[in-house]
Symmetry: C2
Subunit: 216 residues, 2 copies
Amino acid sequence: MFVKGMKALSSKQQSIVDYIRRFLVDRGYPPSIRDIVDGCGISSTSVVDYNLKILDERGYIRRHAEVSRGIELLAWSPISRFQVPIIGQIAAGEPIPVPTSDTWDVAASSETLEVTEDLTQSKEGVYALRVKGTSMVDALINDGDIILMQYVNVVENGEMAAVWLKAEKEITLKKVYVEPSRIRLQPANSEMRPIYTDPENVEIQGKVIAVIRQLV
Amino acid sequence: MFVKGMKALSSKQQSIVDYIRRFLVDRGYPPSIRDIVDGCGISSTSVVDYNLKILDERGYIRRHAEVSRGIELLAWSPISRFQVPIIGQIAAGEPIPVPTSDTWDVAASSETLEVTEDLTQSKEGVYALRVKGTSMVDALINDGDIILMQYVNVVENGEMAAVWLKAEKEITLKKVYVEPSRIRLQPANSEMRPIYTDPENVEIQGKVIAVIRQLV
DNA sequence: TTTTTAATAGAACAAATGTTCGTTAAAGGG
DNA sequence: CCCTTTAACGAACATTTGTTCTATTAAAAA
C-alpha cells in the first residue's frame, strides 16, 4: 500500500521519478545517475544526486549506497507478481485436467496468466482454468471467465470448489457443506436451489480462490 | 506470454535464474555478477558470465553489455503493473462517486488495487469500485466483488456499463443497446429480462472492463 | 543591503562491476 | 588413446558509475 503524507515534488524531481519508472519498465533495470542526467536533460551528476537524496528522504525511492543503479522505486514496487499456468478449461461435461508436474512448470505451459500476489496470496499450487459454457452461472461465473484455482482435495465448509459428480458425470462450481449423511452443494446465487447428493458421489477437484472476467 | 521451445537448464543455470528473480523481487534492482557468485555459491565471476551467456542465448534473460547489473529477466519481465485507485463503492441506491483529479492520484487515494497491464490494457482513466449489495447479480457480479471501470460517457452497443437511472434513482450494471426511441438494458444473465427505458433517463457512468472476485 | 538557504556546475576520485584471457579438468567421440 | 567440447578457475584489466568537494548562482529571509 501507499504511504500518505508525501510532500509535493518539484517538477524536476517529478520528471526524475517518471524517468526512473519508464526506464525500469522498458529496460528491466534501474538507470544510472548519468542515465538520468541524459534522460532528464540535467547538467550534472551532482544535481541528480542532490535530488535523489531528497526523493529518498521523502520515501519515493530507496537508494542503496555504493551499488550501481541501486535505485529502488518505492512508489511502485516491482515485486509480488505471479505467473499462473492456464492448464485447461472447465466445462460441465468433463473433469478438469489434473495438474501434473509438467503443467505446473510455468515455462512448459503454453498459456499463462499474470496476476499480482494479493490475488493468489502467495499460495502454492495455484493454477487457472478458462470457463467453457454457461453452466456455472449460478455461481456467478460466466462463459469465458478465468478462475484461479488452488489444488486441494478437501475444503472447509462453505468454500467454493470445483466438484466432480461421478454419477452425473458433471463438474460444477458450488459452495460445499457437509451435512449428516449427505453433502449440500449450494449455488452462489442465493435465489437458486441447492443440490443434495451422497458423499460417495462427490470428488473435490480444487478450490476457487478468485474469478477474473475481462470484458473487451 | 511465454516463449516455448526453451531448452532445459542445468541446475546451476536454474539456480541463477531463481536467484535473479528473488534478488529482483526483494531489492528492486538486478544483481551484479559478484552478487550471483555469492548468492549461488559459485566460485568465479567467469563461471557466472559463462552461464549468463547461455541464459541470454536461450532467451531467459537479456544482458546489456557493459552495463552494471544490466540483466533483464525475460522469463518474467518486471513491467506492466498498474496501481488502480479504489475510489468508492457501487450500490443500487446511489450514484457512483465521480472521479476527480484528486481521486485519480494514486498517491492520494487510500486504497489501491494492483493489477497487471493485460487486465487494464494500459488504458487511461481506469479506476475500481467495490460492489455493495447483491443488486448486480443479474450481471453476474456479487456483493464484495471489485470491478475495474473505465471513465467514459458513451459506450458501444452491447458493452457493459454502469448506468444511472435518473427516475428510479438507481445504478445498475447492464449491457447497453440503443434501439429506436428507447434504450434496452440487458442483464448479463441471459435468463433475465431486459429493461427498456427512455434515453433521457439514462446516464452512463463508466464502462466495466473487468470483474475480480476473491474468495478467501 | 546583507545573510542564508536552495540549487546548480564541473571535475576529480574511488569503488563497484563487467570483461578478457590463459589454464585446467572432466566428459564424450572417433 | 587422442581430440574436441563443455565447464570451471582466478587473476588482471578496463569501464562504468557512485561519491565528494569546492565554487557559483539564484532566490528567500533578515
